[in-house]
């Protein structure tokens, strides 16, 4: 059962990701990205991360992607032009990426014995209670700092996007 779930949503994730990269118009890419995030949320659930899965859907898919869609709508930029002007990107890009993927795959395969398996319910430590406990004891400092970070981001965004005063 878990295997089927994994395969299905992994497939959706990969296809959607490819779509993000391949589509001409940014709005199509944005919708595909939402799809990726949704399937990733399911995979998080499989891995026992309930809180994170919910956060993924609410924050990522629900806030960040909406922000993206709004900006695309505001800018009303059309599809991308054809011609490109980077020799380096075209020459080195593909080999680098292929190599990257191969290396990562190699590492993954070598690093993990094949008998480690995942099933739904194998890890019960991802409850909101567990996360909250860790967040407010061990990781309190990073928590506070990220709140400041968010504040800075808010201020920055407001300053950058407002109209120029005459």
């Amino acid at each position: 059962m878990d295997l089927i779930l994994f395969l299905a949503f992994a497939l959706i994730a990969v296809v959607a990701a490819i779509n993000v990269v391949v589509q001409r118009h940014p709005i199509s890419s944005a919708i595909s990205l939402v799809g990726v995030m949704g399937s990733l949320a399911v995979l998080y659930l499989l891995l026992g991360a309930e809180f994170i899965a919910a956060a993924q859907v609410i924050v990522y898919a629900g806030a960040i992607m909406v922000l993206f869609v709004f900006v695309i709508m505001l800018l009303n930029a059309g599809g991308e032009a054809r011609a490109g002007r980077s020799f380096v990107a075209s020459l080195l890009g593909v080999p680098a990426l292929v190599a990257l993927l191969a290396l990562l795959a190699f590492f993954t395969a070598r690093l993990f014995p094949s008998d480690a398996e995942v099933h739904f319910g194998g890890f019960k430590g991802g409850t909101p209670e567990a996360i909250g406990r860790a967040l407010f004891t061990t990781y309190l400092l990073p928590f506070e700092i990220t709140s400041i970070l968010v504040l800075i981001a808010i201020v920055g965004a407001v300053v950058l996007a407002r109209k120029e005063l005459e």
């Binding site: 980077s86 380096v88 690093l111």
Partner: protein, 619 residues
């Protein structure tokens, strides 16, 4: 005894005239300059009177100059009988020349500068003479070289004068190098540079080393005293004012080499080969210079070659073991050579600058005082019996005959040549028809004539008056000099024959010289052009050095290598910078590609480490 006053007085004159002389009147400059030298002379007299008969060396120690490791050099002055002779000659003749210069330089520019340099020269020369060790003597040695350069180039707006100054300085520098090497060896061998310490250790020392030291010191003497092969600067030095030629290049500086050699007699008597070298160089120089003097037309050049020749005689004296004879000739030569130069200066002054003897003649009626003093000097230098030159020259020739008869015969022949060319100059100048352009040759002022008269008197009777060999008997080892009447007679008659020949050729039958020159054209050209020695030196030594410097050192090493390295570093940096800026395209996508590429490389690196690690590694 305050020996230090002797050189310090002229130094004070130099400082006052040098620093403030521009604003002084001529009288003030005269007062300081001549006054300081005359005072120095008087102080010398007083000191010598106070020291009595000087049976031993009197030394005054001033301060320890160098104290480094095993080298200790004190700044000391010492006086013995040899020093006494030198002091009297330098300050006495120096004073007379200073007085003469008042008249000679009266119409020249840079009056105060001339006297300042002259005083500076006196300071250095006196330091040289009073020195109690080689290094202090070397200070004086170098200093007189400097003053010679300054005074030869006195007319610094004339290129031939500055060239002559450069030549003098550079050629004597070569000699100084030899002197320095000699000093190094002396220190190495004897552990000291002080005369007393060194000479005490000489008797047991290694003869080979002594010979080497002697020859190196001789090189220095050759440079300073214009012997073969370093004499070429002296004729050119006549570009300086005539009092300079008289003082520096006749009476005092050029004799420094003789003095130094005489002072180092202990070394030379223990290194017979070095002494022979000195004698051979001396006689060769005497002969060659005399032959060149035969054909010169410039009156000062004649006397310049005469000086070189007479210096050769002094070295013959020293080289044959007759040190006191050499010093004796030094003194008498100072008298008559200074007189010859100053007299020719008076002639030139009367003729408003004419120096070529072909444009002189018949001056004996026009400038009688000059005529008579020049006659005295010419007789003295020719060794006319009973003049000062007669005694000193004979002493040298007799010592030479004892040593090696051939030197005696060459020396006698050269004496004949000397008499001939000196009287040639004398007759060409004072006899015959006046061939010059100046309409009214006038006698020189008394301030110039008076010193000439004093010098003339000294040239005639100085030999009697100052019996130097007897005076110096205790200083040097006794030289075996036979009182051979016949040898003396032969030497004197050579002189008389020279005078007679000159009289015949230049007064009685003036056409003879030209016919001889025409018939022996090759020989005449050779001699007239000083055997082309200057040209040979230029081609063999000077041009290769200049070319080598220009091509190898300047273009090759400096411009090519060093500039190349420095500029090359700049160019390489620029090149590398140019390469490094290529990735900075401003294109974010290429940056990202490089990041990805770099990331791949890092992962490969980590992978390699993991795989190669013997322990653990990848599970």
């Amino acid at each position: 005894m305050q020996l230090w006053l002797i050189p310090i007085l002229p130094l004070a004159g130099f400082l006052i005239n040098g620093l403030f002389g521009r604003r002084f009147s001529k009288a003030a400059v005269n007062a300081f300059a001549i006054g300081s030298v005359v005072l120095s002379f008087l102080w010398v007299v007083k000191t010598l009177a106070g020291l009595g008969s000087l049976p031993y060396t009197y030394t005054e120690h001033y301060f320890t100059w160098i104290q480094s490791g095993s080298l200790t050099v004190n700044f000391d002055f010492s006086v013995d009988r040899l020093t006494a002779v030198m002091l009297l000659v330098v300050t006495g003749v120096g004073s007379l020349i200073h007085i003469y210069s008042i008249g000679y330089m009266a119409h020249e520019g840079g009056y105060y500068r001339f006297f300042a340099f002259l005083n500076l020269f006196m300071f250095f020369m006196l330091t040289l003479v009073l020195a109690a060790n080689y290094l202090v003597m070397f200070i004086g040695w170098e200093g007189v070289g400097l003053c010679s350069y300054l005074l030869i180039s006195f007319y610094f707006d004339k290129k031939f004068a500055t060239d002559a100054g450069n030549k003098a300085f550079i050629v004597t520098r070569i000699g100084d190098f030899g002197f320095s090497l000699g000093m190094f060896l002396i220190f190495r061998q004897f552990g000291s540079l002080s005369f007393t310490r060194v000479f005490a250790q000489v008797p047991g020392a290694d003869v080979g080393m002594l010979t080497l030291i002697g020859i190196l010191l001789m090189v220095g003497a050759c440079g300073k005293s214009a012997q073969i092969p370093l004499y070429v600067w002296l004729p050119d030095a006549m570009a300086g004012p005539t009092p300079v030629s008289a003082l520096i290049h006749a009476a005092t500086m050029v004799t420094a080499g003789v003095y130094m050699t005489a002072r180092s007699w202990v070394i030379y008597t223990h290194a017979p080969i070095a002494m022979d070298v000195i004698a051979y160089i001396g006689i060769a120089t005497a002969f060659v210079a005399a032959t060149i003097g035969l054909a010169q037309n410039d009156i000062k050049k004649v006397f310049a070659y005469s000086t070189i020749s007479q210096l050769g005689y002094m070295f013959v004296g020293v080289g044959c073991g007759a040190f006191s004879a050499g010093i004796y000739h030094l003194m008498t030569h100072a008298f008559f050579k200074a007189l010859l130069f100053l007299g020719s200066g008076a002639v030139i002054h009367s003729l408003a600058g004419e120096q070529d003897m072909r444009f002189m003649g018949g001056l004996r009626t026009k400038i009688p005082w000059t005529f008579w003093v020049m006659l005295c000097a010419s007789l003295a230098i020719s060794g006319f019996p009973l003049t000062a030159g007669y005694f000193s020259k004979d002493a040298i020739l007799l010592a030479a005959s004892q040593r090696a008869p051939w030197i005696y015969w060459v020396g006698t022949f050269t004496a004949g040549l000397t008499a001939f060319y000196v009287f040639r100059a004398f007759f060409m100048t004072f006899f015959g028809e006046y061939r010059g352009k100046e309409h009214h040759p006038h006698e020189s002022p008394p301030v110039m004539i008076a010193p000439l008269v004093v010098l003339a008197a000294l040239s005639l009777i100085g030999g009697y008056l100052f019996k130097v060999p007897d005076f110096l008997r205790g200083v040097f080892p006794a030289a075996e000099v036979p009182e051979s009447g016949s040898l003396m007679a032969i030497a004197s008659s050579a002189g008389l024959i020279g005078i007679a020949l000159a009289y015949v050729m230049y007064v009685l039958k003036p056409g003879i010289p030209d016919s001889i020159a025409a018939s022996a054209r090759g020989l005449y050209t050779l001699v007239y052009n000083k055997y082309f020695v200057d040209e040979i030196y230029d081609a063999v030594i000077v041009q290769p050095v200049v070319e080598g410097s220009r091509v190898a050192l300047w273009k090759g090493a400096d411009a090519g290598l060093i500039d190349g390295i420095v500029n090359g570093i700049g160019a390489r940096c620029k090149g590398i910078g140019g390469l490094l800026r290529l990735p900075q395209s401003g294109n974010a996508r290429s940056y990202a590609t490089w990041v990805a590429f770099g990331g791949v490389l890092v992962i490969c690196g980590v992978l390699a480490v993991f795989l190669l690690l013997p322990t653990g590694g990848v599970r």
